[in-house]
């Protein structure tokens, strides 16, 4: 375990100095751990309790990085990394499930725990991913904001710190990114909001 921590720290340091392959390797390490943590929360935990990505990412941080001498430039940076991992986990899972279902349709998930604002058509991960890739090609930073805020549950301030920009930029880009994704999802304002 401590061996793994050392490796994570070493890779993180290499990555922050522009070592691209270190990113992939780091992703592999963090990815598996995040998956395990998430699985455990859902399988062993209270199935009706809250599972949120913020918690997952914090737990991953405690497990993987904490007690290290902190080669990560900031916690926010690690969270941003985990947000990327969360994105991959969800996409991989959606794909696997799609294959599993053998054409049985998409994984449809509600995006918000607030009844009246979730449109009648539930939306799904792969549409988000599809739109997010398009967004990424046009505005990498906006896509980064989505990763941090949506997949990592990071706060505006954490996101700004991780992306080395201002909170105002994060807020503005988050608003627009949400509009694009919601639009791509075919989201329409609820014409008949449910009780």
């Amino acid at each position: 375990m401590s061996d793994q921590k050392g490796q994570i720290t070493r890779l993180a340091s290499a990555w922050s100095q522009g070592d691209k392959p270190a990113f992939d390797e780091l992703m592999e390490l963090v990815y598996d751990d995040l998956r395990r943590i998430a699985h455990r929360h859902i399988r062993d935990g209270d199935r009706d309790g809250l599972v949120d990505t913020t918690m997952l990412v914090h737990e991953a941080y405690m497990k993987l990085v904490h007690s290290e001498d902190g080669t990560w430039e900031s916690r926010a940076q690690f969270f941003a990394f985990c947000s990327k991992a969360m994105r991959r986990i969800l996409i991989d899972f959606a794909r696997a499930r799609l294959a599993h279902k053998r054409g049985g349709g998409a994984v449809r998930v509600p995006l918000r725990d607030e009844l009246s604002t979730v449109a009648a058509e539930a939306t799904d991960i792969l549409v988000i991913e599809d739109a997010l890739q398009k967004l990424e090609a046009r505005s990498p930073r906006m896509a980064g904001v989505v990763e941090c805020r949506f997949f990592g549950g990071m706060s505006v301030a954490e996101t700004a710190e991780a992306l080395v920009t201002s909170t105002r930029t994060v807020e503005r880009e988050w608003t627009r990114a949400r509009a694009y994704l919601a639009h791509a999802l075919g989201e329409t304002p609820p014409d008949g909001a449910p009780a």
């Binding site: 699985h39 809250l50 509600p110 995006l111 725990d113 604002t117 105002r168």
Partner: protein
């Protein structure tokens, strides 16, 4: 699933990205009331664009993706059908009492809401049916209580409450409610859409308070007041949803002492933490005071765009509450609000800073006091009732003294200032840094300019520039020290605020000194740029450009400002302006080839053109930049990076020979610097190898890959995914070049490297095994291929699952080896499984990865004459004969 409908829906966005995103940004920056007029003008003559923009603006106000994704995660990790698709939901078509379920309206933490109508057709009324998640109410006691509460709720008759019509248990034992189906906007959205000002938002909240007060007088507490539960219809009628439902999900209050902990858990489970009162989070007794808290939180949100405790999860909010931490005073929360704040009846006001300032002043004082009073952690310290809260708001509206503002508030205000002293000091430090760098930049640009003009009038120029720099410094220092008393106002100090003030003062105070003004504007522009405030940067640079154009003969300085604006415009996604700026900068600099500004402008122009989907002009521009850098510093990283992008563009266009020669130049450059950056050398080797392989020069490609692989293995180890990728490429090149046995050897090494790396198994090990098996088949040794292919298939079944499309391809590989080795029966069954699996894989046409895997498989099937089977695979896809 990417349905065609969905992709088409957004095509407009992606095709016209720069235009659309720039316009959206501008629209969202302005007060909501101005947007329609702005969009109408901006989209004149293009109704499709107008429609798109309207949709986007609406979507931006629609808080769809705000969640931390907990539902998303849950759905992703839970097996089984807990995340029903709209079409596949088994509830649809069922009848619940006299109602038939006709569709899904939405989903939430408690369950799913369906659209319904009366099954017996007695009347046409549409209803909303909320079906709660099962297994929550499985005890007889709870079922009884549920029935009783439902009757109480049904007795509430107020036009502001969505009528509870019916309720019961579904056949599966899941409780459901039938409610009036309300059409309207969530209250926050309504307020934003109608650009309601502070007073109107308060009056709207008063309407909600009146309804809540009515319910309290009938002994019903809402318990879950939040924007999503409060709709406003088109006629302005407020409608509260879900009255008292949260309570139905809790055990009875007096359920025995040992139920305490259970209450805690259950009590907090169904409410939304951001809107919940502390006693709910703590699992303590809920009362009418609980609604006072939530109502106050709602008004706080409507006025500031923030929630009292910004935090996502239950835990962190709870901790803050337990520590007795008070919410941020509303006036202080306004600064970084994520939503457009209340319109202030000044539609002409464009500067975001000024709007926030005014709002802050409106909130400071009475409204701060009222809201903080309503948000006290201890219920007994809040307003005694909703009516008392309403009365104080009424007093505020009519200009009378509010009760919340007593000594207690003064005390809290002082406490607040004390608590925030440290951050304020930090902000001051940050400003010094920024100011320092602005000065540095100004001095630096002065120095650059001085160098440039050395040939002429060296002495005078230098004196002038030094004077410019000195004045810039003085200006910034004065700005920071602040003669304006408002700067001493602790709450408003921010770097951003100071910069804004600085920008405003430049014109007032330096009117007679265009050179200083231009330098200062440029310096401030750079600071804004570094803060990501590209619009603000753009504004300042625009003014610097105008100044230089009008009054200064300094062509190079103008070009510098223009290039800088090119960067700002690129950042702001305004590609058209970026292109214009770079082009003008280039036209000014064309004569002076020694200047690296020119090369950078060409590279900037190139990437802007590439984003505008003009590959040819982009290439020409990149090429020019590369050529210029070649003159000034052919070995610089900037040059090599640019040449690499250019080579990529050329290769994608299919000009392999030219790409080759560019990559060779890059390679030569990287070799010179291989000590400092061996990885870049490996990448350059790999890139050239890719082109050589496409040119069917397999031997050279294999040699290049080998060298790249050696470097990468040295840095990262043989089991690293990048090393494995390069080894795979190398094996392919060897195999294509006819060196099949060598390819087999490389594949074997690859398998053992992967095994060492992931001793417990991993899909990458499976992939390496599959490639080894494939290569053995190519080598004509099917018997030997079977063993690694069996292991590969087993590994994939474990690592990614038996039903995965990749696993189906692996089945195909093993089947092919089986046929080739003469073991027909088993092989046929595997083929059938593989084909059946792939036939139902809906994503196949769009899944390039699986298709390319199939292409490799087909090539080997053709080699062994398995024409029938190959035809069946081809029929599944649009794959032509394997090349």
């Amino acid at each position: 699933m990417t349905s065609p409908e969905n992709s088409e829906r957004s095509e407009g966005v992606w095709d016209r990205w720069d235009e659309v995103d720039g316009m959206l940004e501008r629209a969202l920056d302005m007060p909501a009331a101005d947007r329609d007029a702005f969009l109408a003008k901006a989209c004149e003559g293009d109704p499709a664009l107008l429609k798109l923009m309207e949709d986007l603006v609406a979507a931006a106000g629609h808080d769809t993706l705000s969640g931390p994704g907990d539902q998303l995660l849950r759905a992703a990790f839970e097996d089984g059908a807990t995340a029903p698709g709209a079409g596949a939901d088994p509830m649809i078509g069922q009848t619940l009492g006299p109602y038939r379920v006709t569709g899904v309206l939405g989903m939430g933490g408690m369950g799913t809401v369906y659209r319904g109508e009366r099954a017996d057709g007695t009347f046409e009324r549409q209803v909303a049916i909320k079906v709660l998640r099962g297994s929550l109410l499985q005890t007889p006691d709870l079922a009884d209580r549920f029935r009783l509460e439902r009757q109480i709720l049904a007795s509430l008759g107020h036009p502001g409450i969505a009528q509870m019509i019916d309720g019961g248990m579904s056949q599966a034992g899941r409780p459901y409610f039938v409610m009036e189906h309300v059409e309207g906007d969530p209250i926050d959205r309504f307020a934003d859409r109608h650009a309601l000002d502070v007073d109107a938002r308060i009056r709207l909240t008063l309407k909600v308070a009146e309804v809540v007060d009515y319910a309290h007088r009938h002994l019903v507490v809402h318990r879950d007041l939040k924007p999503g539960n409060i709709l406003v219809t088109s006629t302005g009628q407020v409608k509260l949803l879900d009255f008292g439902i949260a309570k139905l999900l809790e055990p009875p209050a007096g359920a025995g002492s040992d139920a305490g902990s259970a209450t805690t858990r259950l009590g907090s489970r169904f409410v939304t933490p951001e809107w919940s009162a502390p006693e709910q989070l703590l699992g303590e007794r809920v009362s009418t005071q609980t609604d006072v808290y939530s109502l106050t939180a709602l008004l706080y949100y409507l006025l500031t765009g923030r929630r009292p405790y910004e935090g996502r999860d239950h835990e962190s909010i709870l901790q803050r509450v337990v520590r007795g931490e008070e919410p941020t005073a509303p006036s202080a929360a306004v600064a970084g609000a994520s939503r457009p704040g209340p319109g202030l009846g000044r539609p002409g006001e464009r500067s975001p800073g000024a709007g926030a300032d005014e709002l802050r002043r409106r909130l400071a004082g009475d409204l701060d006091a009222i809201l903080l009073r309503g948000l006290q952690s201890r219920p007994e310290e809040r307003y005694a009732s909703v009516a008392a809260f309403s009365d104080d708001l009424q007093r505020y509206l009519s200009g009378e003294a509010v009760t919340a503002r007593g000594d207690a508030f003064l005390y809290r205000a002082r406490k607040f200032t004390r608590r925030h002293r440290a951050p304020l000091a930090v902000a001051a430090g940050a400003f010094l840094l920024v100011a320092g760098s602005a000065v540095g930049l100004a001095v630096q640009s002065a120095r650059v300019a001085a160098e440039r003009d050395r040939a002429e009038a060296a002495a005078t120029q230098a004196t002038q520039e030094a004077e410019t720099a000195r004045q810039v410094t003085t200006f910034l220092v004065e700005l920071f020290q602040g003669s304006d008393p408002r700067l001493a106002d602790a709450d408003t100090v921010s770097v951003r605020g100071l910069l804004d003030r600085g920008a405003a003062r430049v014109d007032e105070e330096l009117a007679g000194q265009p050179a200083v003004r231009a330098s200062l504007l440029e310096a401030l522009g750079r600071v804004y740029l570094s803060m990501g405030e590209h619009l603000q940067a753009d504004l300042l640079l625009e003014r610097a450009i105008d100044l230089r154009r009008d009054s200064l003969p300094d062509q190079a300085g103008l070009a510098e400002s223009l290039s800088l604006r090119g960067i700002a415009a690129s950042d702001a996604q305004d590609t058209r302006l970026a292109i214009e700026s770079y082009r003008e900068a280039i036209s000014l600099l064309e004569e002076d080839r020694r200047d690296s500004t020119l090369a950078k402008a060409y590279l900037g122009l190139g990437s802007a053109l590439a984003r505008s989907n003009l590959p040819d002009s982009a290439e020409a521009s990149l090429r020019r930049g590369v050529d210029l850098l070649n003159l000034t510093g052919a070995r610089s990283d900037a040059y090599l990076d640019a040449a690499t992008s250019l080579a990529g563009a050329v290769r994608r266009r299919g000009e392999l020979d030219e790409a080759e020669s560019l990559y060779r130049r890059v390679l030569a450059g990287r070799r010179l610097a291989s000590d400092q950056n061996p990885e870049a050398l490996a990448v350059a080797l790999n890139n050239l190898a890719v082109v050589r392989r496409m040119q069917e020069e397999y031997d050279e490609a294999a040699g290049l890959y080998e060298e790249a692989l050696g470097i990468m293995t040295g840095i990262l180890g043989p089991g690293h995914p990048t090393s494995l990728m390069m080894a795979g490429n190398m094996a392919t090149a060897l195999s294509r070049g006819g060196h099949v046995e060598e390819a087999v050897a490389v594949q074997r090494e690859r398998v053992s490297a992967a095994r060492d790396r992931w001793p417990g198994g991993h899909w990458r090990v499976g992939e390496a095994l599959m490639n080894l098996g494939g290569e053995l088949l190519v080598a004509g040794r099917p018997e030997e291929a079977i063993e690694p292919l069996v292991e590969a298939l087993e590994m994939m079944m474990i690592e990614i699952g038996p039903m995965h499309a990749w696993t189906d391809v692996y089945r195909g590989w093993l089947a092919t080896a089986g046929m080739a080795a003469g073991r027909e029966e088993g092989a046929r069954e595997l083929f059938d499984n593989s084909l059946q699996g792939l036939a139902t894989y809906a994503e196949l046409p769009g899944d390039g990865q699986v298709k390319s895997m199939l292409l490799g498989l087909l090539r080997v099937m053709d080699r062994y004459g398995l024409a029938d089977e190959a035809a069946r695979y081809r029929a599944l896809t649009d794959l032509e004969t394997g090349s």
